[in-house]
Amino acid sequence: MLDDFFTRAILAGLGVALVAGPLGCFVVWRRLAYFGDTLSHAALLGVALAFLLEVNITLAVFAVSVLISLALLLLQKRATLSSDALLGLLSHSALALGLVALAFMTWVRMDLMGLLFGDILAVSKTDIAVIWAGGITVLVVLAAIWRPLFAATVSAELAEAEGMHPDRANLMFMILMATVIAMSIKIVGVLLITAMLIIPAATARRFASGPEQMAVFASLAGMVAIVLGLESSLRWDTPSGPSIVVAALVLFLVAMSPLGGLIARFARGRTHSPKAGGKSS
């Protein structure tokens, strides 16, 4: 079964969507979309370094993403520039450095389009193993830091005052983001990873009456988008990343339509019994 490239792509994609859902919710709640962009642009620098040093691409991208996150944390403490200016600086210089480095390495024959927009043909069995092992690790860690991370999302000061150590949770969250971005490159490509984080989460918002519920719905929406997107990518010979993002967008638009409103009323009507809110504790 795994010999079929399409099955491999679907499996890998489902793994990415599963993790991108809950993480994407935090990206939306914390208004970190630009941070996601920065990390994914920096991924290209990671790819270039991987070729240069002849190491595993996923590993190199992960390392570069973590370094960029730490650089951001450090620069924010110094605070001479606003956060978004810092992100822009890091994001585009990493992207430019990556492109320049790749251009210098004339001996490397690589498909830049596949890197930027995802390439379902490139998904190997090892990739699937890496994505699912990494994905499950990310979910376990996220579940462990969920409460402090969520409390810090609502109010960092409140979380700190009541002894939740938000700094630790924030640092872990950045590392999780770096992991997911490294995992997702082959499926959605460097330029579109943020979309996989944001669009399913935004779709889920309409139907969710609690944060945990929204995370689950975001995973489901992302998985549906993966299947729909990859199917159409195969049928119309379009790059996999954009096809998945278009499918996610279609789901979002359906959710925002009156039809989505009906579904939302149904979903909330069922969960709005008095005990619903307490189920997370």
Partner: protein
């Protein structure tokens, strides 16, 4: 108030600065079990900053801040905005930082009078309802120390009286210490043990006078005052005007009181101010304020 057990929180000459400007300096503050301390002062006088130093949210840039080991805190911040993308019901909000049983949550919600809002989304609450939800969340934790930053802002007058009574009841029931920041310059909770007036430094401190003894406030509030509120008479040489400026004894008006503004010390060596000068080590307040302090104890 002279109890043998260690204070819940103690600040010693604590101060914090941002971008070269001192938000607050030289604050001495201790809160013990069962004690209610109220901070008053105009906007920008460092009340919230002082509370955050006490909580450990802001690290003091000078002086020190100590918290009792394992201190359980319930905090109502001055501002908290919940993004509309966040689906958060009151019920889920009650469990935000953990360790609250559903029974305790429901009890706290009915004590603050909003148990009917359990399933409502937090972002749909009115200002007053949200304040009650935040207070309920803080007290449901059964904390050792409640830190309330303007807990009754946006709450109507009778609600304000009720919430002050509730805070006193909670203090009596679970014996927690309370650090309360008042949104009013002169009216404080009657159960307050100590009032500390801040304006970039500790101006003075003392016990509140009973509202009943103040004709002015009886005229303003009538008999509904009901012993929940009290007046704090400012007994220092300068007056904090409502707009946050300061009128000094020599009649001049400045934006703030701070060392070297030319209005302190040279005329009034004993005016109850401490400006961090080396000749007054360790005393956060001058003779008058110390007197008030002793009255409180």
């Amino acid at each position: 108030m002279q109890q043998p057990d260690p204070p819940l929180i103690s600040l010693e000459r604590a101060g914090a600065e941002r971008g070269g400007r001192w938000l607050v300096r030289g604050v001495d503050l201790t809160i013990r079990k069962g004690e209610i301390v109220t901070l008053i002062g105009p906007n920008g006088s460092g009340k919230s900053t002082t509370a955050k130093i006490a909580l450990g949210v802001i690290k003091p840039d000078e002086g020190s801040a100590h918290r009792k080991r394992g201190l359980r805190v319930g905090y109502v911040p001055q501002k908290l905005s919940v993004d509309w993308t966040l689906p958060l019901t009151v019920a889920r909000f009650m469990h935000l930082t953990g360790g609250v049983s559903s029974a305790a949550a429901e009890e706290a919600l009915s004590a603050t009078g909003i148990s009917h809002l359990l399933a409502s989304e937090v972002r749909n609450l009115s200002g007053g309802e949200f304040q009650r939800a935040m207070l309920a969340r803080a007290i449901a934790r059964k904390p050792d120390l409640l830190v309330l930053d303007e807990p009754v802002q946006g709450v109507d007058y009778s609600g304000e009286i009720a919430l002050y009574k509730l805070i006193k009841t909670i203090r009596d029931d679970i014996g927690c210490g309370v650090l309360l920041i008042s949104h009013d310059l002169h009216v404080v909770m009657a159960a307050t043990d100590r009032v500390i007036c801040l304006n970039g430094h500790v101006c003075c401190q003392g016990t509140p006078g009973a509202v009943a003894s103040s004709d002015e406030y009886r005229r303003m509030f009538g008999d509904r005052v009901d012993a929940a509120l009290a007046v704090y008479e400012h007994n220092h040489d300068h007056t904090h005007l409502p707009d946050g400026t300061v009128r000094h004894a020599d009649g001049s008006v400045t934006a703030n009181c701070h060392p070297g503004d030319g209005h302190h010390d040279h005329d009034h060596p004993d005016d109850g101010h401490d400006h961090g000068h080396p000749h007054s080590p360790g005393s956060g307040s001058g003779p008058k304020a110390a007197e008030g302090n002793r009255d409180a104890g």
